[in-house]
């Protein structure tokens, strides 16, 4: 445990010193402030923030995470030569990456929104949802980043793979769902589509945010399965649970590969 803590703190120092995280936080801060100031009405600004959280946060998490692990390779090898368990090193890496990014997200998006909330208390629920979803996505995509970095030996290919993971989750997956929907439009597809949505963390996060921002619209959705599931608070709980599982699976897989990897 102490070795995990030491690895974690050294990783934290490293990540923060790399200035990437500072840049990330500043970028989020700037975009959020700009959106709130110039993004038109409050609703519109919040909707733009949804896109920021759904697209930018996973992208930065997966790309930065992957590159960081490649850069830290020598350091990792050095660590592994010491009497330190691989579990400690792996989890230290994960924590060292995920924590600063979460903090960056909270400062960058949460900070300006809190200020906005003082003026407009109706923003509290969306704010909490945005930050919760963003945090979950950070965990998920940091875990993906570790998987990619462990599995792919070469740096350039790893970078490409990280981008592919992001592209797959945000664009390609939805394209396939739409294709499925149009191909089999004569069949009742609500349940299958709902299940497919739950299998992709970005889609799941999007649905959770839709429930926060577009309730009026979703009430018009004829799929009773959907309204049954998300009508009460249970759907949100299930969704967040699933998001955490989405993070746990790649994390566990990466751990397994990391344990076996011949450095």
């Amino acid at each position: 445990m102490t070795s995990f803590r030491r690895v974690l703190s050294s990783q934290l120092r490293n990540v923060i010193r790399s200035r990437w995280m500072v840049g990330h936080a500043l970028l989020l801060l700037a975009v959020t402030i700009l959106l709130l100031r110039f993004g038109g009405s409050g609703e519109r600004a919040l909707l733009s923030l949804v896109n920021l959280v759904l697209l930018l946060v996973p992208l930065v998490s997966v790309v930065f995470g992957t590159l960081y692990v490649y850069n830290a390779r020598e350091f990792i090898e050095l660590l592994l030569a010491q009497p330190v368990g691989r579990g400690s090193v792996y989890l230290g890496l994960f924590g060292g990456l995920a924590l600063p990014q979460t903090v960056a997200l909270w400062i960058g998006v949460g900070g300006p929104l809190v200020l906005q909330t003082v003026a407009e208390p109706a923003v509290v629920r969306p704010l909490v949802m945005l930050l919760a979803v963003g945090t979950c996505l950070t965990l998920v995509f940091t875990a993906f980043a570790l998987c990619v970095a462990v599995l792919v030996e070469e740096r350039a290919r790893g970078f490409g793979a990280a981008l592919l993971v992001w592209l797959g989750c945000t664009v390609v997956y939805d394209g396939l769902i739409l294709l499925l929907l149009t191909t089999f439009r004569d069949y009742p597809l609500e349940t299958p589509v709902l299940i497919l949505t739950f299998l992709n963390p970005v889609d799941l996060a999007r649905v959770v945010l839709l429930l926060t921002f577009d309730v009026a619209l979703l009430m018009g959705y004829t799929g009773s399965v959907f309204s049954d599931l998300f009508g009460g608070g249970l759907g949100i709980v299930i969704a967040f649970g699933t998001l955490l599982v989405c993070a746990a699976i790649p994390l566990a897989a990466g751990f397994r590969w990391f344990g076996r990897k011949d450095f």
């Binding site: 038109g40 009405s41 609703e43 519109r44 909707l47 949804v50 896109n51 759904l54 697209l55 945000t170 664009v171 390609v172 939805d174 394209g175 769902i177 739409l178 929907l181 149009t182 439009r185 597809l189 609500e190 589509v193 709902l194 949505t197 889609d203 999007r206 649905v207 945010l209 839709l210 577009d214 309730v215 009026a216 619209l217 979703l218 009430m219 018009g220 959705y221 004829t222 799929g223 959907f226």
Partner: protein, 400 residues
């Protein structure tokens, strides 16, 4: 007995005095008299008939309670005024329209500042003209839709003024059928089981500054011409069959300066013709405007569209309504000559709205990057969305 006539033309009802019931007072009163009901609780065994022109005034909010199996107050005379009463307890029945206050063939009547609670129909009028229904509060027991009547209903009536009433907990808040040349203003119709406002074949009526909120199915109006709706608020009407304002076979009217917020569908037009839709605000709705192909010749100008998932949806490629000079928060054009109008036309119909129209479960892909990319591609090179449905001069700034 003599005490009741001490003041000329005034009959006083009080639980301690000689006249102890409203029905007794009305039997004594001559045309033109005033009946004053003092504070207290008066139980009536049957319908109280007002068959001569009298003024009934409640002092200290007296409560008139019925047994439940009859209409409480039945007004058949002209120039009757009823103010300050609390009318309570009429049970539902499917064979007759029992009401708290029922007007039959009455003219020039005035119902003002009454509380009507726990009744089947609140105020029901048939063949009525030139009446004023003002500042009443009609509160229903919120039974299920089939077992509740309408808060205010008029049938075959003319020149009514219905204003400042608050109606809630009934089937329809306000229901008009064959009512003409009437004005409804400043009413609040909240949390009714079915419609906040519902009218059919009620030509030439005006609706101003009313608020319709949290009603089961919003507002639905049908088969009427010459309707004017100004400054009303349509809020929070959510559900698969709920509409901020549903217009079916409505023609030659004006929908002006209304506010639509957080409705599943804000404005739905089916067979609605030659309407002038101007200066309205559509904010945070699922569908702001659903325009069916059988709606012809409507003009949409100077409206504000912001935060809606779909600004305009339609079921046909050819549009016969015109959009011009509206503000769209999704507009991405520019204004080089600085005249406040965008130089590039705006296409408010998203490709995705067409997809959802035909394929309902696809709604779950809303706000997906993929769908946004598809929409952008379609905007650049329209293939599927209606070509004619464009705003040629979109506003750059929201109208004040």
């Amino acid at each position: 007995m003599i005490a009741g006539f001490l003041a000329v033309g005034v009959v006083t009802v009080s639980s301690a005095g000689p006249v102890r019931r409203l029905s007794d007072a009305l039997a004594l009163a001559r045309p033109g008299d005033t009946v004053i009901v003092t504070a207290g609780r008066y139980v009536e065994a049957g319908t109280v008939r007002v068959d001569r022109p009298v003024t009934i005034i409640g002092r200290g909010r007296p409560v008139i309670v019925g047994r439940g199996d009859h209409t409480l107050l039945l007004i058949t005379a002209a120039a009757v005024a009823v103010t300050g009463l609390v009318i309570e307890h009429v049970l539902p029945i499917s064979t007759e329209d029992r009401a708290g206050i029922r007007l039959e063939g009455a003219t020039g009547c005035r119902l003002e500042d009454n509380d009507i609670r726990d009744t089947y129909f609140g105020i029901y009028g048939a063949k009525v003209s030139d009446c004023r229904i003002e500042g009443n509060r009609v509160t229903g027991p919120a039974r299920r839709e089939q077992a509740s009547g309408n808060a205010i209903q008029f049938w075959s009536s003319d020149r009514l003024t219905i204003s400042g009433n608050r109606v809630t907990g009934h089937r329809d808040g306000i229901y008009l059928e064959f009512v003409t040349a009437s004005v409804l203003s400043d009413n609040q119709s909240v949390a009714n089981r079915r419609y906040g406002l519902h009218f059919m074949s009620s030509h030439g009526c005006t609706y101003r500054r009313n608020r319709f909120q949290h009603n089961g199915a919003g507002v639905a109006v049908m088969y009427t011409r010459d309707v004017t709706m100004e400054g009303n608020e349509f809020l929070d009407n959510r559900g698969q069959a709920a509409y901020g304002l549903l217009l079916k076979d409505i023609s030659d009217g004006a929908i002006r300066d209304n506010r639509f917020r957080r409705n599943t569908t804000a404005l739905y037009l089916e067979g609605a013709n030659r309407l002038e839709v101007t200066g309205n605000r559509f904010e945070g709705n699922g569908w702001a405007v659903r325009l069916l192909a059988n709606s012809v010749g409507n003009r949409f100008e100077n409206n504000l569209f912001t935060g809606n998932a779909f600004d305009v949806a339609t079921n046909s490629r050819s549009a016969s309504s015109t959009f011009s000079g509206n503000y769209w928060d999704q507009y991405r054009g520019f204004d080089r000559n600085r005249d406040g109008r965008g130089d590039v036309p705006h296409r408010p119909v998203r490709l995705f709205s067409l997809v959802v129209e035909q394929n309902d479960p696809a709604l779950i892909l809303l706000r997906s990057l993929f769908v946004d990319l598809l929409d952008q591609a379609e905007r650049v090179l329209p293939i599927l969305t209606p070509e004619t449905l464009t705003d040629l001069a979109p506003l750059m700034e929201p109208p004040r």
